[in-house]
């Protein structure tokens, strides 16, 4: 097993958390109700905290500072799935995306806790309890919006139709990921996908939603991004890039 395959995987995990956290932070001050504004901002902060843990591990392998990775990388060098970079959309869209991601994490983390790499196991153990709460909160919301009013149901179904094929990208293995699976560093994404589908299909159906038939991810490479990532990074990096890298604050 080369360190390179592991390093790429860690970066993918970190970038997914960062970009999703950033997207969700866009709801701060705009969520439909005060309580949920705070709850969703908490969730966004948690994801940023998880990104920090994975970037710190990336730094141990590559000596690259997290601040550099986050604020001075262009879109082409980001390794997140397109799923997390899509604009926040309406409340249903953001809530459903977070739910689909939380379910994925709640299935992946118990496996990562058993990773043969001690640092990965340690980080996963730290993240896991928080993710259990995320899933509880977002699955409750999905049920209430899916079974709520005609409007909330319509918006949830639209969100699901749009998000489904993007969500499947979370389970596309990276090019050398098989090495990591064989070495029991990472769980097999195909196994995670089967468990994920069985859980989300059951919950979405119970929430009155129809799961799209496609099983083909809309994107398969993490080097390809939508134009939305460029716009997101332009905003997120604006202040940092206003100064030369490494300026002391």
């Amino acid at each position: 097993m080369t360190n390179l395959s592991l390093v790429f995987k860690i970066l993918a995990l970190a970038d997914d958390e960062l970009i999703l956290g950033h997207r969700n932070s866009e709801w701060a001050g705009h969520a439909p109700i005060l309580e949920e504004d705070i709850a969703f901002a908490n969730l966004a902060l948690d994801e940023l905290g998880h990104a920090q843990l994975w970037y710190a591990l990336y730094q141990e392998f590559t000596d690259t500072e997290p601040d550099y990775l986050v604020f001075f990388r262009g879109a082409a060098d980001y390794r997140n799935a397109q799923f997390v970079e899509l604009p926040k959309g309406d409340w249903a869209f953001s809530m459903l995306r977070q739910y689909l991601f939380d379910t994925y994490e709640s299935i992946a983390l118990p496996q990562l806790v058993k990773s043969s790499n001690a640092r990965i196991a340690e980080i996963a153990a730290k993240i896991r309890p928080e993710e259990m709460y995320h899933l509880r909160h977002t699955s409750n919301w999905v049920k209430r919006l899916g079974l709520g009013t005609a409007e909330s149901h319509r918006r949830m179904q639209n969100a699901l139709d749009e998000l489904w094929a993007y969500a499947l990208q979370l389970f596309v293995p990276l090019s050398d990921e098989q090495e990591l699976i064989d070495a029991k560093v990472m769980p097999d994404p195909r196994v995670l996908q089967a468990e994920w589908e069985s859980q989300v299909v059951a919950h979405l159906s119970a929430s009155g939603l129809i799961v799209p038939a496609t099983r083909e991810p809309i994107a398969t490479s993490r080097t390809q991004h939508t134009e939305y990532l460029t716009a997101l990074l332009a905003e997120m990096q604006e202040v940092a890039r206003g100064e030369v890298y490494g300026v002391e604050w």
């Binding site: 109700i33 005060l34 309580e35 949920e36 705070i38 709850a39 908490n42 948690d46 905290g49 730290k126 309890p129 928080e130 259990m132 709460y133 509880r136 909160h137 409750n140 209430r144 604050w249």
Partner: protein, 185 residues
């Protein structure tokens, strides 16, 4: 259509030797979401051992002043109603000082009025200026197994007061380097 959600009073237990105390209120579509909103609003900081949420409509409340008028005692429902557990809460102390509506115990009664009467007898104390009784079946409590995901993560987080960030001295330094700082003299 009334789009306002119901209000729930939030009770938080911060230490084993402290009772559940009123932390504030949240709005939510139902009790389960109220419990989650309570966690997100009030438990980002340690320490929380347990949370309760109580729908506003379930609270039968009397101030010490209101209790001087006895007419509420006549509003009792017929005695054939089933008796059940009511939780009793008090606000004690001096009004001017920081104080909480806190859980003091429970009584068994067949109506809010009967519960209030029982509470007044059982938990009589000086300086009580607010009494609440609430049927326990309408109180949603966090469960012991919720603690690792609901309360424990707060312990791992750093909370910094604004003074942690030395923004002002740095700004003064930058401005003075650029000759922008006006003389304080």
């Amino acid at each position: 259509m009334d789009s306002e959600w119901n209000r729930y009073e939030v009770f938080e237990k911060e230490r084993v030797d402290l009772p559940h105390r009123n932390a504030g209120s949240v709005h939510a579509p139902d009790a389960e979401m109220a419990l989650e909103n309570a966690r997100d609003l009030f438990v980002r900081r340690p320490n929380c051992l347990s949370l309760w949420v109580i729908p506003e409509h379930a609270i039968f409340a009397k101030t010490a002043q209101e209790l001087q008028d006895d007419s509420w005692r006549d509003q009792e429902v017929p005695h054939n109603a089933d008796s059940e557990i009511y939780l009793v809460f008090q606000k004690q102390g001096q009004i001017a000082r920081e104080t909480y509506v806190a859980h003091v115990g429970q009584v068994e009664a067949s109506s809010p009025q009967a519960a209030m009467r029982a509470a007044l007898e059982t938990f009589a104390a000086k300086n009580v200026f607010v009494w609440w009784v609430v049927p326990e079946r309408l109180v949603l409590k966090s469960e012991a197994q919720d603690a690792p995901s609901m309360f424990a993560p707060a312990h791992a987080k750093k909370y910094r007061m604004h003074a942690y960030y030395p923004v002002e001295p740095i700004m003064r330094e930058l401005k003075s380097a650029q000759g922008m700082l006006e003389s304080d003299g």
